[in-house]
Symmetry: D2
Subunit: 320 residues, 4 copies
Amino acid sequence: MKTVGIVGANGYTGSELVRVLAFHPNVTLSFLYSRSNSGTKISDLYPDLGTVCEMVLTDTPEEVDILFLCLPHKESQNWLGQYSVKEETLVIDLGNDFRLEGNFGNRNFIYGLPEINKKNLLGVKSIANPGCFATAIQLALLPLAGKGLLKEVYTTGITGSTGAGQSLQATTHFTWRNDNISAYKTLAHQHVDEILLQLVELNNSEVNLHFVPWRGDFARGIFTSSTLKTELELSDIDQLYRNFYEDEPFVTVSSRAIDLKQVVNTNRCVIQIEKSGNVVVIHSAIDNLLKGASGQAVQNMNIAMGWEENLGLYLKPIAF
Amino acid sequence: MKTVGIVGANGYTGSELVRVLAFHPNVTLSFLYSRSNSGTKISDLYPDLGTVCEMVLTDTPEEVDILFLCLPHKESQNWLGQYSVKEETLVIDLGNDFRLEGNFGNRNFIYGLPEINKKNLLGVKSIANPGCFATAIQLALLPLAGKGLLKEVYTTGITGSTGAGQSLQATTHFTWRNDNISAYKTLAHQHVDEILLQLVELNNSEVNLHFVPWRGDFARGIFTSSTLKTELELSDIDQLYRNFYEDEPFVTVSSRAIDLKQVVNTNRCVIQIEKSGNVVVIHSAIDNLLKGASGQAVQNMNIAMGWEENLGLYLKPIAF
Amino acid sequence: MKTVGIVGANGYTGSELVRVLAFHPNVTLSFLYSRSNSGTKISDLYPDLGTVCEMVLTDTPEEVDILFLCLPHKESQNWLGQYSVKEETLVIDLGNDFRLEGNFGNRNFIYGLPEINKKNLLGVKSIANPGCFATAIQLALLPLAGKGLLKEVYTTGITGSTGAGQSLQATTHFTWRNDNISAYKTLAHQHVDEILLQLVELNNSEVNLHFVPWRGDFARGIFTSSTLKTELELSDIDQLYRNFYEDEPFVTVSSRAIDLKQVVNTNRCVIQIEKSGNVVVIHSAIDNLLKGASGQAVQNMNIAMGWEENLGLYLKPIAF
Amino acid sequence: MKTVGIVGANGYTGSELVRVLAFHPNVTLSFLYSRSNSGTKISDLYPDLGTVCEMVLTDTPEEVDILFLCLPHKESQNWLGQYSVKEETLVIDLGNDFRLEGNFGNRNFIYGLPEINKKNLLGVKSIANPGCFATAIQLALLPLAGKGLLKEVYTTGITGSTGAGQSLQATTHFTWRNDNISAYKTLAHQHVDEILLQLVELNNSEVNLHFVPWRGDFARGIFTSSTLKTELELSDIDQLYRNFYEDEPFVTVSSRAIDLKQVVNTNRCVIQIEKSGNVVVIHSAIDNLLKGASGQAVQNMNIAMGWEENLGLYLKPIAF
């Protein structure tokens, strides 16, 4: 059994990690760190954890084999600067501090999207876990990028309220958000740079991603549709995707209509491709807290540790 | 007081017309036609009408001054073929039978989008009321089309469940639709032809509209985002839109973020424009049953009859 | 035209009053008072008001014919203490400051539930508007109280998130409230005293009301079910209710199943009665912001001023 | 590994069993029976099962060790009459055919509420799985019944749309149900007899249960509040409940406010007790498809087979 610490366990992605890791056969939770809620039982913050985890949040981290950082932007760097973490500890950062620039001190964070970097992740000690929209959009575009077919991409994506975190905001107030749809950070979402960094390298030429994010009136999940031009036949694109994801346990290319709830409460991504004339649309759906955050972090841990990739990730879908 | 008949009053748009017209100062409801529900009180089908309208649905139409057709596709032609309607009766068709081809017998249906056709609507006797997505998308693009600036347009739109009508379907089952998002009719929505017919004429050159419709987990409303390239400055685009809609009582160009619930249960359309580099995004929102159907039908009636355009359309927003 | 001022116009009930009064034929809005948002346009806080009301919130009240107070508990007393209001001004308080004890200075607030107090409201200058749950529950029980038939009453009620006001709270966070149900203030809701004050007087003997309020995952509305024992036949109870509400324009006794959305965005209350053995259940539904607050306040204004009771209250239901 | 067959696998509770059993360490699925969908892959009906189960529905059952019946009322009897099931096969019926009368042919169905019948379930071959409301309400009342303290009980419960099954109905149409609340089967729900059969035996004297079920605007879950009179102190009641459920892995007595989402997508039941004067209210919450159906069926299987009670039931809560 490897020991695990979670920093920022009081937040959405931190507590979701607790939900997943509590039943993981190869790890045991050593500490849950939270500055603001130190001394509180995690199950008092999240009563759904009542019979799952009775640990008390602490502000005193211990030495562990695996450390997850679930902190606001910039805070991961601060935390690693403040506390000394053993070199041999696997650090997985769920924030965006090391996604664009992986070098930090004597650590070199590898971008943890298993569907492109799996081989590079085995045995590493520092992983930058991708963003939620970044995961959903990259998985929708990777196979085309792999063939250099991306140029101008028009993407709309919708996210659940958990994507905005647990802080109380006007746009997360139930009265406002229920039955409502709105756009935010139009053409200016922070994940675009992260996406392009990966796609451009694969695509081997410039990619323009015009991304319009929407806020949805649901709590969990991301659904995206990306539109672009290509002369490739639909059947060829379909085959390209099926080949690309052939060995990926969490990505399904569907020949039928997909919908968000097919993946909610799982670590899966489902993808559907449609075409008319020379225009192709790729839809993708993930659970933003799992494949878009904590589930993928566990997947990355499994890979880095040399364990079966979906260990602890056999999650019952909510389905309804 | 002018007399009004509603054909297909048992459906969503038909009953919504009853809700609006019941309080309209210039008209009185003469008959509500429904073949399938003949003999039933409209308030038994829609109990919210309990104190608003106690009429009984009939399968025997009468002569009226104004006739609204709220029927499934192709059924308007059949109905007008079966029953003889006086030449001087104003017929407003909410279906799509006459949107692309307005000539039918001795009638010539004018496309009833007041924001482009208001002058042509005064005094006419036949109006083809626009589709819901068609209204939201055209209002978002008209000012650019008016300057010939449209070429490649990428639009995503999301619609509430009322857009699918009252029939029971797998995709309108609550268990499936709650918290769910899905795409449908990707690049193949029937409103695209209707939209392009108007836009191309204004634009004076070819327009390609790549439209991805989504199903939303709410009952009322449409939200759309259209992305396209233009060298025009944001301030110039903004001014262009404000000038274009200056005299339109139901269209608001907003300089602040818009959201769907700003317009739900009203006949309004709100529009917001954002730009980054040479890419502009235009967001628009309407209530699909009002500005997207029955409200706009009343607006068209007001214009055709020479009445104040927003008579009977001072509707309290739901807001929350 | 009578002049109107709204104090606390920046809140939910205050802004809802603006939505209703903006289209009322006999009044004109003179000022919208808000200490915290003074200087802001009401339509910047509530963009749905974009074409309805362009007034700027002020912290300087003027003399008006009619004054609505939409303030947190205890604040109405403070406000009336701070500002001098003319004796002949009609003051309608939507808070709970004067519901249990109507005497304040030289004013004597009458409890404004028109279905029991209509005769006493004509011409008065001070009205205490009932609470939202208090309205829904009293309307469900009044006819039985009028016959002295109440003794032990077991009521469960569910309320939308607007009932909790616009402040950001853990229980109004979308992520928490979506798809969720919870109880609060079990057997201890502040409206019970207000309800009993009226019911006991009518009932002419002690009444015990055991009330369990629930939070619902919707924004608008209240649905209640009250269970009690009686030997009266269902048909007699039904007749009793129909007689009691015969002349009430906003209360409907339904012989068919009722549901919340029959009344959302209207000033109506619908009631249904069911019986098995010697146990009767009375269901009632209202819109908490309208019949439960701002709509009823306008109804009270109409009665006090001697106007038609439903003036300005012909509101289109949302229905869907 | 024991072999399992699921009859009615195409329905909500049947497919939910597939979701749970697919990851159960001691069983393997042998066949999924469905007359109407024979020949279809279960993952085509429920795409969330895409990577979980690729079995094809069949109309030809095989011999298995454990058989689950997930059929409409009366259909379990018919099915067992039509097909011969080995005597040594464990049959768990999720319908209500054998809850009130357990004798059928040479089988004697034991009522499978583990919290009262655990000792009687070990080794049995026929189990009648309780109803969803029946589970939530009994768990809320059992400890009081055990002391003979029940007399008049007033219960309101709210259920998600999955409780109504997958058939398309007016009351499961999204447009109708979204944001809506309604009562149904007032004082006449079919689970009352089932509940009283157990409670009266424990209580050793008559119990009257006045139950008002409501339809909620969410898909999964049941929340109930039961009100009754007792002279017992709150602390004594609380202790009584804690003692009663001390060894029950799936029932939690909470001293803090409970809410529905604490248990959604788990097999747990949470209970909270509140008191004022001589009136006590007991709240309970379960997931209707898990502790209210398929999860409890697996729990019963585990007990009957002599396995650990929560094997295969370590389910990640949805939480948000």
